[in-house]
């Protein structure tokens, strides 16, 4: 593993291998892809849309959506841009494709044809190939992005970028640890280097492609510093391969002040570490994900969660907000439910866009706290990698110095236990081996003791469980029942 830009030779060698892994990859021409991208109007370029939103201080709306069949998928996206007034479109990839199980995806397509409804939880872009993708990207007016969760997303990237998508979500950590069980981190980082390099090549050819590391991770009680570290590291790795347009993400935690502090610090910390790595030529924007944990089943309550997420996104100054639907707790939303989520969000965004949120002293403190936490872990990463972030982050996960709560991967320590304090801020209850200094840990502990006192119980594991269920049961802090 090396921390440099992938050489064109290595790139080409890998390329010829991965294009062989499924028939639709065969004979794929990078040059033709680049030529095709050149003809896409600027108004449909994702990177440009993100930059403009950031400059204008606007918050763009993007749903999640993907179904098995091309025509249905097109209808879905057109509905979301027309009835839902989405600013940006997605194409969410199905879970078989995410695991490179194109054979299973093919079965899913077949069964969906028979059932006359999608039996896949997303759009199997690899199976549909470049031609299928182009049908989709040409049928819509708005910039469109690939959203997935794929540890090895190389073939998917080749096909979808040639297919006219102008943004690509994911990263070697964020699309492995929360999404896979056995894939070694070293491998997924190496595979994502290829993806980033591919984007870099497009950039070198004048095609602006947006890249978005996946912010929310497991979506469940993730302390801001944890996702910030992943976002910053993946940002560095992407910039190294020539990526120019980066959107860093954060999933709503639930406490408004912590969430705003998180989004503010995410941007400043990213600039700080990118500078340290010697990067200056990039466009940095942010995305805020509405509540990513368990949703309430009742739709009226779900609307409330959606609206609250939208409100905080705007107050925090996010450039983009990822929108949930009132069906979230139950299943993949119908197009109608998805558009409802968008309209609910739009109303909140528009009601709040003109309201300025002044950062007071209390609040400044939380920003500083997050900064300290992130720097503390980042220092450990640099130390473990002898100055190299890529080697460092792999070592940090191995040592548990970096740890993501509730993740399925066996390559994650899984010792860290987060918990809400009395005001709903996400703190660390059990730090595992996390490279946080004692002062920070003591601060977290003190805040948790406050809650324990208020609830008349000791700080305990039950609180974690209660917190996981809390929003879906209609509150933020999982108080004793």
């Amino acid at each position: 593993m090396s921390s440099h830009m992938l050489s064109r030779d290595s790139f080409n060698r890998i390329r010829s291998e991965i294009l062989e892994t499924w028939p639709t990859g065969k004979d794929l021409s990078l040059e033709e892809g680049i030529e095709y991208q050149k003809k896409i109007p600027t108004a449909k370029n994702f990177a440009v849309a993100m930059r403009k939103a950031s400059e204008a201080g606007e918050t763009l709306l993007q749903p999640r959506a993907g179904v098995a069949l091309i025509q249905d998928h097109i209808k879905l996206l057109q509905y979301l841009e027309n009835e839902g007034a989405a600013d940006l479109l997605p194409t969410t990839i199905d879970a078989y494709t995410r695991q490179n199980r194109y054979q299973e995806a093919a079965v899913g397509i077949e069964k969906s044809l028979q059932a006359r409804t999608s039996l896949l939880n997303g759009f199997p872009a690899v199976n549909h190939g470049v031609i299928g993708c182009r049908q989709v990207t040409e049928a819509v007016k708005k910039p469109i992005q690939v959203r997935h969760g794929t540890p090895d997303a190389r073939l998917l990237a080749e096909i979808t970028l040639a297919g006219g998508f102008t943004s690509y979500e994911g990263g070697g950590i964020s699309y492995n640890i929360p999404y896979a069980k056995k894939v070694p981190l070293k491998k997924s980082i190496e595979d994502w280097k290829y993806v980033d390099r591919l984007v870099g090549i497009y950039e070198e050819n004048g095609i602006h492609i947006n890249r978005e590391p996946f912010g929310p991770l497991t979506g469940t009680l993730v302390p801001p510093f944890v996702s910030h570290v992943v976002a910053i590291v993946e940002g560095i790795l992407a910039l190294r391969q020539g990526v120019k347009s980066l959107t860093l993400g954060y999933g709503q935690g639930g406490n408004m002040f912590q969430d705003i502090a998180a989004l503010i610090s995410l941007k400043s910390l990213a600039h700080e570490f990118f500078k340290r790595e010697g990067f200056s030529d990039y466009e940095l924007t942010t995305v805020f994900h509405q509540w990513m944990g368990g949703f309430p089943e009742d739709e009226a309550k779900a609307f409330s969660v959606i609206s609250w997420g939208a409100s905080v996104a705007v107050l925090a100054g996010a450039d983009k907000v990822i929108v949930k639907s009132p069906h979230e707790a139950m299943g993949i939303p119908t197009k109608e439910a998805n558009a409802q989520g968008l309209r609910c969000t739009r109303q909140a965004v528009n009601m709040l866009r003109d309201q300025k949120f002044p950062i007071g002293g209390e609040h400044r403190k939380e920003i500083e706290m997050i900064e300290r936490e992130v720097r503390s872990i980042m220092e450990a990463i640099y130390r473990l990698g002898n100055g190299d972030v890529e080697n460092g982050v792999v070592a940090a996960f191995e040592a548990g110095a970096m740890d993501i709560p509730f993740a399925p991967s066996i390559h994650n320590h899984g010792k860290i236990l987060p918990m809400r304090d009395n005001e709903g801020y996400i703190r660390v209850f059990n730090k595992g081996n996390l490279a946080l200094d004692d002062e920070i840990v003591a601060y977290h502990r003190a805040r948790l003791e406050e809650r324990a006192k208020a609830e008349n119980r000791d700080v305990c594991f039950q609180m974690v469980t209660d917190d996981i269920y809390a929003i879906s049961k209609g509150r933020l802090v999982g108080r004793p029942r």
Partner: protein
């Protein structure tokens, strides 16, 4: 409940690990000996684990929507491998899209699952049902 071996896991290529961790904690607390296979478990892995641990029940989770495809045939494979009597429970967001629970339930009962649970099921009730089903099987075996 007398300590009873159960096997737990999330089937297919499903990565949703939060519910799985909670189920493990809950069933252990309730007195089961839990073998938790975690996420992304194949039908074969469920069956081998059940045989190895002499489990009385397999608890299959599916959250991500492919349940309908992933869960089909497990009962038949169990019988094939000699697990005629094993209790099969399945739960989660079993199909793609918001669907009336009765429909979902019918579908999975037909596949041979003994009980079907939605994402809103109360775990305390599940344990009660499990006790009941274990009792019935025991009697049936007499």
């Amino acid at each position: 409940m007398k300590p009873v071996n159960i096997v737990l896991g999330v089937i297919g290529f499903d990565c949703h690990s939060v519910g799985n961790k909670i189920l493990e904690a809950f069933f252990s607390e309730a007195g089961c000996k839990v073998t938790n296979l975690g996420v992304m478990v194949s039908q074969e892995e469920f069956i081998s684990a059940a045989i190895e641990t002499d489990a009385r029940a397999i608890m299959v989770s599916s959250l991500y929507g492919h349940g309908e495809i992933d869960c089909a045939g497990l009962r038949e494979k169990c019988i094939e491998k000699g697990l005629e009597d094993i209790i099969l429970y399945v739960g989660g967001n079993l199909v793609v899209g918001k669907t009336p629970f009765a429909e979902v339930e019918a579908k999975f009962l037909k596949m041979g699952y003994d009980r079907v649970f939605g994402p809103d099921c109360v775990l305390e009730d599940v344990v009660e049902l499990l006790k009941k089903d274990l009792d019935t099987r025991l009697k049936g075996n007499d």
